[in-house]
């Protein structure tokens, strides 16, 4: 036993002290939590990058697919809308549809990937102490990386359609940022719920499809019949998608009301989704 005592005396261990105590009201101390989260941001980036790499998006054909896939999807919807005779069949209409569709997909893929993220983190969640929010946030990051190149596709169609190129387009940056924040909140919510209900992703597929049809993507808000207009406000994606349409497609300053609504949805969802996730995350290790 003496050897142990000797070793104890000669060592220097004051540097890192962790104290684990029960969480108050189910939440860990948020300051420390966010600090740990920020400290490990590299993990979120690396996970997103490795994930994309494993889906072969580091190859030339993979990257072509990255652009081709949403573009083809856009063309399919465009043809559909065309047959239903709702739009003029102009390239301008295509540009509007593509922008809304790409932005919508940023949110919908974030939600579905976020839902899988925690359960997909399996062993890591079981065996490493780290803020679990990194998993859904990394999923959103990956979806954002996939979203970026589609903006290039849109830019080409935008110019080809002769849509105005004005400084108002820059409004698109904060609007997309708000949509991404909203996506992050929803992804955390979905990721936590998926732990308790593993069939969530099955339902989610249909819910996201319905959400797409209820959002001003295949149509613009102006086309919605008067009697349904009030329902638009129940949709969190109505304000940002319409603001995006106004600023980027039409080159106007988006209405302040839409911007404020977008901001409220984004902030509200981030807080609710984030707090719900964090309050549940201590359970994940025993639920997986």
């Amino acid at each position: 036993m003496s050897t142990i005592a000797e070793r104890g005396e000669t060592s220097e261990y004051a540097s890192e002290i962790q104290v684990y105590e029960p969480h108050k009201v189910g939440l860990p101390p948020l300051g420390t939590y966010l600090q740990q989260l920020w400290l490990r941001r590299d993990f979120a980036f690396e996970l997103a990058r490795s994930d994309l790499r494993s889906k072969h998006f580091n190859t030339v054909l993979g990257q072509v697919w990255l652009i081709l896939n949403p573009l083809l999807l856009g063309l399919v919807y465009f043809a559909l809308v065309e047959i239903l005779g709702r739009r003029g069949g102009t390239i301008e209409g295509l540009a509007q549809l593509l922008l809304a569709l790409f932005a919508f997909r940023l949110v919908s893929t974030s939600v579905s990937q976020g839902a899988r993220s925690v359960v997909g983190g399996g062993r890591l969640v079981l065996n490493t102490a780290f803020p679990r929010t990194l998993l859904p946030l990394s999923a959103v990051l990956a979806c954002f990386m996939i979203f970026l190149p589609t903006l290039g596709v849109y830019a080409i169609v935008h110019v080809a359609a002769g849509l105005p190129v004005t400084p108002q387009i820059l409004w698109g940056v904060p609007i997309i940022a708000m949509m991404t924040v909203f996506a992050a909140g929803t992804a955390m919510l979905a990721g936590a719920v998926q732990v308790y209900f593993r069939d969530l992703t099955n339902f989610l597929r249909y819910m996201l499809r319905i959400w797409l049809y209820l959002s001003p993507v295949l149509y613009t808000a102006a086309m919605v019949p008067e009697k349904y207009k009030s329902f638009l406000y129940a949709n969190p994606l109505y304000p940002p998608l319409t603001a995006l349409h106004e600023s980027v497609n039409l080159g106007q300053t988006p209405s302040a009301r839409l911007l404020l609504l977008s901001l409220a949805w984004a902030a509200g969802t981030l807080v609710v989704g984030g707090l719900f996730f964090i309050s549940r995350e201590r359970e994940f290790a025993v639920r997986l």
Binding site: E9, F130, D199
Partner: protein, 274 residues
């Protein structure tokens, strides 16, 4: 050196309180948690169960009010039957499961080898998994780059490091996990049932590595059913039974008492790391 602190140790002075030279301090720890019996809980099954008014959520009292301290440099063996709370105890010390009540103080950097931690993404290569696991554990990229070669060399996986981990055998898996855990220069190493990874030669090597870590004054908490390994490596043993400390003492004594409790004879089967 990651573990070296900026402050020099107080030379020769008697530590005023026991906390100073304790690597791990557990005070009145209680761990209860709810879990489901279902492997994969689903919304559909929940609805069916609601119809039948069944409940599948079960509260488990894994740890019931235990306190102990582990001095720096001690190798502490933790033994006990399945479900005694050994893994829960290690997970709580690792900060994975916050305590239900009580307090845990950990002095130093913890590296965990809990039921083989790395390799959570089967589609990613061994290398990517090592990097991701390290980043999640809070290491920086630079630290990982520095350590990477050592980890890969020790695991002896060669080209497999660049292959997706789903192509690994369970032995290769274990070797990589062990290599990651011991090469992170931990102050405190938590090991759960993983001493028996790999083939006979690798076992030998991991044993040696453990010895080396002991001599480097690392603190090791070792959960194992391999009583021989516990007896050889541990200075002290805690025997957990139904979430309580049944006995704490010198390794040989505790192992003997535990064996009497289990009513097993001196057989190789009981001694071997299975």
């Amino acid at each position: 050196m990651l573990s070296a602190s900026s402050k020099p140790a107080p030379a020769l002075a008697e530590p005023p309180v026991a906390a100073v030279d304790s690597a791990v301090k557990v005070e009145n720890l209680v761990m209860t948690y709810k879990t489901t019996i279902e492997k994969k809980p689903t919304f559909r099954k929940t609805l069916v169960r609601l119809g039948r008014r069944e409940r599948v959520v079960r509260t488990i009292e894994a740890i019931r009010d235990i306190s102990f301290e582990v001095p720096h440099g001690t190798v502490l063996g933790i033994i006990g039957v399945n479900g005694a709370g050994k893994s829960t105890l290690l997970r709580s010390i690792a900060g994975i499961l916050p305590p239900t009540s009580g307090r845990i103080e950990v002095h130093g950097r913890v590296s965990t080898l809990l039921a083989l931690g790395v390799g959570f993404k089967g589609d990613l290569s061994g290398r990517e998994n090592v990097v991701l696991g390290g980043l999640a554990a809070g290491l920086t990229r630079e630290q990982l780059e520095e350590k990477y070669d050592e980890i890969a060399d020790f695991a002896e996986l060669g080209d497999f490091m660049e292959m997706p981990m789903r192509t690994y055998s369970s032995g290769m898996y274990g070797r990589l996990a062990f290599s990651v855990a011991v090469n992170m220069e931990p102050d405190i190493l938590l090991i759960d049932e993983a001493l028996s990874v790999g083939d006979a030669r690798f076992k030998e090597k991991s044993f040696e590595k453990m010895r080396e870590l002991c001599s480097r004054a690392s603190t090791i908490l070792l959960v194992s059913h391999g009583l021989r390994a516990i007896r050889k490596l541990a200075d002290e043993v805690i025997w957990l039974h139904q979430g309580e400390i049944a006995m704490r003492g010198e390794a040989r004594e505790a192992v003997e008492a535990y064996k009497r409790f289990l009513d097993v004879r001196e057989s190789d089967i009981a001694e071997e790391d299975v």
